[in-house]
């Protein structure tokens, strides 16, 4: 009995403390709190940058969380967060009014087709790659490899990686219904362990357990992305409302400063936005 009372008192105390703390949190939220939510792929970069930034700006609190690009943009749209991190252009995300929000591109990510090491090829033509994902080529021997059936691993519909891949490779053709996985890490593991498997990954996830493919003898390197010789790449976006606080402005400026672009961006396997020789718009058209 005494124990139960104690527990009850403790609970209410904690809940009360919680409410009080929340109240405090709300009152200070207006000037020096930034919340960035969205893309899991972009999260490590923003989080690291935020940590460095907060070392110099002690009274600023930046929270960076994942949850997916769709979540990031819809939470920004309802103004529940300050920054929505996204792998895709807001124009390409259904249900988002892209005119009301502002795009800040902070990095470029290159995407390469990857295969299981046992398939026996290192280069493929764009036409054949498209046919494989269409389901028209079903065995590796048809493209000069070993006699192993092809197992297509796709990415989740609506994910940035898949959008980019389809826009640059599929040329309007639809992909076959196949496995869909949602993270780079899982895809890498499946490719490494499944005979005849093919999928696509961000450059930074390619390691020695899998084989990346050149397309029409162009190698998937940062240099080739910068000149657009390698076509499959996309931006990482940080979207904000049109009106933002000075703190947010400064933080976004910091993201595009040489310190981050030459440092963190490279270390985390992205391509610096300042090194790009070309630009793309939301329709995947190259503009200069």
């Amino acid at each position: 009995m005494i124990k139960i009372k104690k527990l009850a008192i403790m609970t209410s105390a904690v809940l009360f403390a919680g409410t009080v703390l929340t109240a405090c949190g709300v009152s200070s939220a207006s000037n020096d709190k930034i919340t960035a939510v969205g893309s899991t792929a972009l999260q490590p970069l923003v989080e690291e940058a935020a940590n460095d930034y907060q070392k110099e700006h002690k009274n600023l609190s930046i929270t960076v969380q994942g949850g997916g690009s769709g979540t990031g943009l819809s939470q920004l749209q309802s103004r529940a967060v300050t920054i929505g991190n996204s792998d895709v252009f807001a124009e390409n995300q259904k249900g988002i009014k892209s005119k009301d929000i502002v795009d800040h591109q902070v990095a470029v990510v290159g995407i390469t087709p990857v295969v299981n090491k046992g398939v026996g090829i290192k280069n493929i033509s764009m036409k054949n790659l498209q046919k494989i994902f269409e389901g028209k080529i079903t065995n590796w021997k048809q493209v000069g490899g070993k006699n192993i059936p092809i197992e297509v691993i796709n990415r989740v519909k609506g994910s940035g990686t898949r959008n980019t891949f389809e826009a640059n490779v599929m040329d309007g053709h639809s992909t076959i219904k196949a496995q869909e996985q949602d993270s780079n890490g899982t895809v890498r593991r499946i490719i490494a362990t499944t005979p005849g498997a093919i999928s696509y990954l961000s450059f930074s996830f390619v390691d020695k357990t899998i084989q990346s493919l050149s397309i029409d003898n162009v190698k998937p390197t940062d240099k080739n992305v910068e000149t657009n010789a390698w076509k499959i790449w996309s931006y990482e976006h940080m979207y904000t409302a049109k009106k933002v606080s000075d703190d947010t402005k400064k933080f976004l400026a910091y993201m595009n400063s040489a310190e981050v672009q030459k440092g963190l961006v490279k270390k985390l396997g992205y391509i610096s936005i300042s090194d790009m020789k070309v630009k793309k718009d939301a329709n995947n058209k190259v503009i200069n």
Binding site: I4, G18, L21, T35, P44, Q65, G66, G67, Q75, K267
Partner: protein, 295 residues
């Protein structure tokens, strides 16, 4: 057939199945420990995580997991206890009680991401708790309640009705009988329930991504002021737990030693749960002896 022969066969079958279960479980735990333990070191346990360099640790994640467990139990245990007592002792045996029981059971089948998003929209956004340990604890309370309530209910029911009658015939109120006689006798069963739900708290990831968050900002372990942003005790700071860390490292981690961190963390998680089990059983035994005054 001769009942004695049947008895032998049945016993044999049971032994066979049990041996198979033990073999599977031992192999599983052995696999995790063998692949993970070599990666555990003092450095691994006491240094913060790294997002792109090798050699990161799990200090903050480990602490967050334990802190989250404590908060979750503080919130969910009293509620489950009260509800369990109600269902076992007071609830009338009618259709309404059946509906309550059924809905609680259905609640436990909800995918964690659904509960996570629900808590995100209600607590994180609407009630402005933000990404915080507290939001995470509330989300986990949703998972804990069905199993814990059910467990407390069965533990109470399994106490012999003789004890109940003895208490009532002494002129004690039903409530006093429950808290003074039945509850102490049910302690061992309840401890099992707490351990199981603790396991669920340690292992949950999907619901926490939307509530407690998946980043571990800098915390100061010497700052005891729970209102301070950097204090390790602040329940309103975002906190990545060990299970979420394992998920993150495996899905989008680009550290060169992601595999080592993942298997090391899994092994640490198992060891922590084991320690928690031993601790809980010890407390439970002490409590049981003290409350029932048995030797």
């Amino acid at each position: 057939m001769n009942p004695k022969v049947v008895n032998k066969i049945a016993t044999g079958v049971i032994y066979g199945l049990v041996i198979l279960v033990v073999a599977i479980l031992a192999a599983l735990i052995g696999y995790i420990l063998v692949t993970g333990v070599p990666h555990i070191s003092w450095h691994f346990l006491t240094s913060p995580a790294q997002s792109f360099l090798a050699g990161g640790g799990i200090r903050d994640q480990l602490f967050n997991s334990i802190y989250l467990l404590v908060l979750t139990l503080i919130i969910s245990f009293p509620i489950a206890l009260g509800a369990g007592i109600y269902l076992a002792e007071y609830a009338p045996k009618n259709w309404f009680t059946e509906i309550i029981k059924t809905t609680i059971e259905v609640l436990s089948s909800l995918p964690s991401v659904v509960v996570g998003l629900f808590c995100y929209l209600l607590f994180v956004v609407q009630m402005r708790m933000g990404f915080s340990i507290l939001s995470g604890a509330i989300a986990l309370t949703f998972f804990n309640l069905p199993l814990l309530t059910r467990n407390i209910e069965t533990s109470l029911e399994s106490v012999s009705s003789l004890q109940r009658e003895a208490g009532l015939s002494l002129g004690l109120s039903q409530w006093k009988t429950i808290t003074g006689i039945i509850l102490p006798a049910a302690v061992p069963g309840i401890i099992t329930g707490i351990i199981l739900s603790a396991g669920r708290v340690f292992g949950e990831a999907a619901a926490l991504i939307y509530t407690a968050g998946q980043s571990a900002p800098f915390v100061d372990y010497t700052n005891w002021n729970i209102f301070s942003d950097t204090s390790f005790l602040n329940p309103l700071r975002p906190a990545e737990t060990l299970a979420v860390h394992i998920w993150k490292v495996n899905s989008e981690g680009i550290t060169p030693d992601a595999n080592a961190i993942s298997s090391g963390s899994s092994a640490v998680l198992i060891i922590v749960i084991l320690l928690f089990n031993i601790f809980a059983h010890w407390i439970g035994n002490r409590l049981y002896k003290k409350m029932t005054s048995s030797k």
